[in-house]
Point group: D2
């Protein structure tokens, strides 16, 4: 349970700084004899990769992943899988200013308060670059889920709001999410969002966003009732993504206003006691910390990045008061690239809980 690891039986340890020679991760606990190659991982990294549209940072990294261990003749061996991506585009000088000053809203100052030292180049360890390894690990988790549960288990995410512009949920179409640079499921929102982001980018500012991830056909029985709750671990996994400040499951904050009979999802049997049908999904697929077989619905709020060109009052490392503005290449809306990261975290959690459940319940 070291601080740079997550998961229990499917366990991922990441390492690396934004401007070091490389970033990587070690995946431990993967079942043996699953087909795995870089081709299973690279497409998911490509989805997250920066520089693909003008709405994400222009840092260009091929982000080419290499498998260094744990795979032999195309199959997992049960030994740890080491993944590595070399850092190739590291314009350190862009970050000269933030070496001495703290970006308000950024982890800069927190690192110094805790460790008394920080690798300020590109944000060092706190850079969103670290999330590439979560996506890589998530790709391996997806292989486990596909091979051990089946292809019907689908995990997919969407961006449902940028700023105060929310999608129209009536128009939700998952196929749209791959056809625009925003993972937007509502085709009518795309143009509006593009204009909003153009304006944000021109002012040198940034904007928050709302992400939703749905996992369908998850078997019932994953999770645990008290402290290994499936929803608690999803909350931790999503809240741990850079810039996330809120997480909800199913009805989420909406439950505050509901009465018991409004929130309870009625159950029908359709002739089977072990495959109940629920008539609604306020629970978001989880009851008492355990999956019920319904879609697992989670949402998270991503703050606007704090690396902006608009000056904000701050201090420098020797305590002088300064105004900080961050040059460099930044995402006007980091929520966009958080979508595949959130999907990956859900995949990792489900793979982990599948193994945990198999251990105890067979």
């Amino acid at each position: 349970m070291s601080e740079n690891s997550f998961g229990r039986l499917f366990r991922v340890t990441t390492w690396g700084e934004s401007h070091g020679p490389a970033i990587g991760c070690v995946i431990d606990g993967c079942p043996p004899r699953l087909k795995l190659s870089e081709n299973d991982i690279q497409p998911w990294l490509d989805k997250r990769r920066p520089g693909q549209s003008k709405y994400t940072t222009q840092r260009r990294e091929p982000d080419q992943v290499k498998i260094l261990s744990g795979v032999f003749e195309g199959q997992t061996t049960g030994t740890p899988i080491s993944l590595l991506i070399e850092n190739t585009d590291q314009r350190s000088k862009d970050y000269g200013d933030i070496a001495q000053s703290y970006r308000p809203g950024h982890a800069d100052i927190a690192y110094d308060l805790k460790y008394g030292i920080r690798d300020y180049r590109g944000g060092g360890r706190s850079s969103a670059r670290e999330t590439a390894m979560r996506v890589a690990a998530g790709a391996v988790a997806r292989v486990i889920l596909r091979e051990l549960i089946g292809p019907q288990l689908i995990i997919r995410g969407a961006l449902t709001a940028i700023g105060s512009q929310h999608v129209d949920r009536e128009l939700w179409d998952w196929s749209q999410t791959h056809k625009n640079p925003f993972w937007c499921p509502d085709v009518t929102s795309v143009e509006r969002w593009a204009q909003q982001l153009d304006a944000i980018r021109k002012e040198g500012s940034s904007i928050g966003a709302l992400v939703e991830v749905v996992a369908e056909n998850v078997p019932a029985g994953l999770g645990a009732p008290i402290y290994g709750k499936l929803d608690a671990e999803i909350a931790s996994a999503l809240m741990g993504i850079n810039g996330v400040k809120a997480v909800e499951i199913g009805e989420g904050f909406g439950v505050v206003a509901l009465k018991g009979q409004e929130n309870a999802d009625p159950i029908r049997s359709e002739g089977s006691a072990t495959h109940p049908k629920f008539l609604s999904n306020h629970a978001g697929g989880i009851l008492g910390g355990i999956s019920t077989g319904q879609p697992i619905v989670s949402r998270m709020a991503v703050k606007p990045t704090s690396s902006i060109l608009v000056p904000v009052p701050s201090i420098n490392a020797v305590g002088q008061e300064v105004d900080v503005m961050t040059k460099g290449r930044h995402d006007p809306c980091i929520g966009i690239r958080a979508v595949p990261v959130a999907e990956a975290m859900i995949a990792c959690i489900l793979a982990d809980h599948f193994l945990r459940n198999r251990a105890q319940c067979g």
Copy 2:
């Protein structure tokens, strides 16, 4: 890292069912030579205890805690502290109906889907009774925080909404929370809430609620930057409380609509680089997963209890479709009793992170 434990260095393992002979917990990792007796724990349990007003379940448990180990001559010894509360008021027959049928919205069915067996008496392990041990552990965590950090560190919670009736934040007064049965910080809401709950109770229904916990004067530097993030662990801890469906830190879901400069908390030095002053607290006291010294602000949404007298369509254990209504003594608003539980979870997390930080950073 067993499923019924939480924390890493300050580690709590709970056990017990609602209608078994007792419930308890084992607290491991407590520093030695701290003064500790039942008197440090009992008052917090009394705050959570049911049967104190007509707005919480009428189950009457003295909830008298006993320390069975780890304390010698009034001081902790560094060995595990075992706490036990005997169950005395177990009217099992009240629950006869739910032995065979699943309460919609309740963990009943999830337990059976996972384990193929459940102790249905009073909800068994899924009963909110388990949270008594979280409160007990939280009381020990508070002793650690008080003795090793100082009495200025204050953790306190409030109920900020019942149903759609929110408190007026302008009228927030912490001292009020102890003067009404709702932990309501706004004296003008109390009567409204009382009337609302009377109505809810009369219809045999229940209602959701919103809880806020604030930890003040937490030292900067607690937490960790990637997967042991302070906010991620708070999210997990709060989401793991019975009935919680959403968690937020600081600005929470509000960040979606903000621009970078609106969300970034300006920093002033007041002459000290190591004790920065922030001019706002959108971050909720945490940046990059690490505490900054600002108040740590968290919120959670608690769903209406699913044990209600209003019938809801469901199934029974052999797959027949039935309507379920739950007789027995239940809280019309479980959010009320969740307040001291949420406070306790925050206390446990802070104690754990204090020890973790001391290990790595001295």
Copy 3:
């Protein structure tokens, strides 16, 4: 991984001091729907219980175990199993002397050096009384092994030396171990040992012993190749028993003098690649940290207890030099009662590794 827990998926947390009100443990991760009652546990505790012959301490404890949670209608529910034994015979005054002085060879001084405090009554937490809970947990582990693997898996221990009197291995007869107070498998050693122990007891001294535990019909494939090695975890489990100073697997220290071809166990197939037959067992049933299906053979050396009537130079808590002799009721040979404890630790490790292997390898 708190300090008072062991195991990973079958996880045991023990608590309690020798002269506190009770001792107990919490067993987490037990599979559901296994038949379990106090009757499955009590016989193993009775085997370990003191006061059964003149060769073990005369402290008389009924050691009656109670199951407080995790079992419903005679079956495990998958929730934590809490076990408790009340302490009934606590003659604290016998230990008055050691309150102020340190017994040489005992943990007394180490506790004070670490914690600055210790519960000196009966040795507090360092008392061998704690091992009762290991035996109780081992009994639950045996139920898992019997139900999920089968009754052919047998774990049994023997005492193979007291002082320099070793058993004659040619005369080894497992059935003898239950017919004498020493777990001695060689009927010809019993009388010799009895005389030796009588002499030791009369001089107020104590003596070391050698314990061997064999687990037969363990499935191949349990363990892990690098850091969760089955032999490494056995080493830790046995070395962690009070008074143990050495552990070996299979040929043990004997391998030092062997050549490669002498130590390698030849393999024959008997027509099956997946059920190899080994012609010898220098490996003690484990290769590369993984069980091979051969008997798992482990041995441990137990030191003579340091609570003796013979005076030894020591110091007291204020640094004065004193001679210490320990009145009270002590085992002249703690190795005897360590036999069922060692068996129990092996059972716990095998149950844990069975679940761990099932998680990864199905």
Copy 4:
């Protein structure tokens, strides 16, 4: 707590196969602001490196370690330290034979029994090559111990027997261990051992060995009394090294023959209650699982390697009976190269326990 990690707060995760592109490790939990460069690690790797004398395998690897993360401007940052060594000399064809057959005494068959697949090239993950990363991690642990405790803490190992030729302990001279290829502390044994190993090598066989590691000036109070016992964790760490079959602490198996007063180390105060002086060290520096300030003395038995030219009966992957002899370059006595590995494991454990103790006891 994944299977390829060890340590709790100073936590090491290793990965890599003998003939993959590289091997590496991730070290998590290192305190910040310690000076660290490759120069602190490389010398220890050079000590372990094969091909340095005719008594170790002739595989030639420069074993050049690279730090990929966690160090900035020459100092640790508190973030994970990733170390990598490229594999350069991989003569896979030498191992063609063992692809299909199982070396008796080797992990080959155990991997297949567990995982149903193995990377047979050079032994894959089970190769002693993995221990290079333990040595690298141990070098980082030594930096922590030196900086946070002091240079007086010394950890050093020696080979005390090859086959049945034991050193003369009366002639023990630590300075000799660096002057011969065997880590032999007794200058009079060197020539004898050389002749013995020449003979062993000529017959194509191998031989066992005995290793002793002593850690001096370890602070009192490290360890934990029940399941995180310092000696239990040393036992696990040493037993987990490739080929180790037995471990002892202090008097070790010798305690079996001792009486209580012989085994108890008398204590003198020399005027200080908190810095006791012990007149002997049967305990090997550990009482009740906690260090006492005395030298921590551990020993381990290393079996003869099973990769030998002498044919031994075995089977192949399809169940046919064959005679196996292993061509390729192997150590006639793997115990030699195990010395720096054992030292490294002790260093890692002490660093981990130092941090664990600092967390709980300040």
